[in-house]
């Protein structure tokens, strides 16, 4: 019979990969005010426990608020916002997690696209790019 998980019956600790996470100083659910800190801690949490970490976005249109949660069911990081300016930041976090969760490393992928964008490109090849020495497809 499954016992419900609560403070007196906490989930067992996860096996740590590499360095172990510092346990949270404050109660289990933490609202982080600073975006940069939330972003960094979320990434660290995922890298530490990629199999157990999930990323949730909660949106209630009537409230005009977005609540982000990144948790591995032991540590829970949350971020609330009602500002439209945070949409771009949220997009960046979404992309980070999509890339990680598909098995790629976003930091490697960034380096790749930086090179690839010059040689492939959707725009017509300009005179300067034609002479750059990168591989070109199609006509001169």
């Amino acid at each position: 019979p499954l016992q419900p998980r609560c403070r007196s019956n906490p989930r067992p600790p996860l096996p740590a990969i590499g360095r172990s996470l510092t346990p949270p100083q404050s109660p289990d659910r933490v609202y982080i005010d600073d975006w940069e800190k939330f972003y960094d801690e979320s990434e660290k949490l995922y890298v530490e426990h990629p199999a157990h970490t999930r990323y949730t976005l909660k949106y209630r249109h009537t409230d005009g608020k977005i609540i982000l949660k990144v948790t591995n069911d032991r540590v829970c990081l949350q971020f609330v916002t009602d500002q439209a300016t945070d949409m771009k930041r949220i997009e960046k976090l979404n992309n980070l997690f999509f890339t990680y969760m598909c098995g790629q490393d976003p930091h490697d992928a960034e380096a790749e696209t930086a090179d690839g964008a010059v040689s492939k490109g959707d725009r017509p090849v300009s005179q300067e790019e034609a002479g750059s020495g990168k591989k070109r497809r199609g006509k001169r």
Partner: protein
């Protein structure tokens, strides 16, 4: 309208349903979008994780209705762009830069 049991869709189907959910919840309701890694059946049992088997599980929930999809590395860029567009359009009840405008007005008057 949405099925209470989980419906696994392809990425386009999922994005369509997500858009419907966001539209439906404008008056009332909450939409949850959750992402988690799925590493393949062998990794589930405790085997090594092969990046090629990894999928990103994305789930959208509105009330009882649940839809989900699995994104592989090769379509993830396309999915990311479509998803970002949907979010940009639908999540529009957030506050715009009101404070800056008020400050500029004050500066203009003063």
């Amino acid at each position: 309208r949405f099925s209470a049991t989980m419906v696994l869709l392809d990425s386009d189907g999922f994005l369509t349903q997500l858009t419907r959910m966001l539209e439906k919840s404008r008056e009332k309701g909450v939409v949850y979008v959750t992402m988690k890694r799925y590493a393949g059946p062998e990794a589930k049992k405790g085997g090594a994780v092969d990046p090629a088997d990894c999928r990103c599980l994305v789930r959208a929930v509105l009330g009882n209705g649940k839809v989900s999809t699995m994104i592989a590395a090769k379509d993830h860029r396309r999915f990311m762009k479509s998803y970002a567009n949907i979010m940009k359009v639908s999540l529009d009840s957030l506050k715009k830069k009101e404070r800056r405008r008020a400050e500029k007005k004050k500066a203009g008057v003063a």
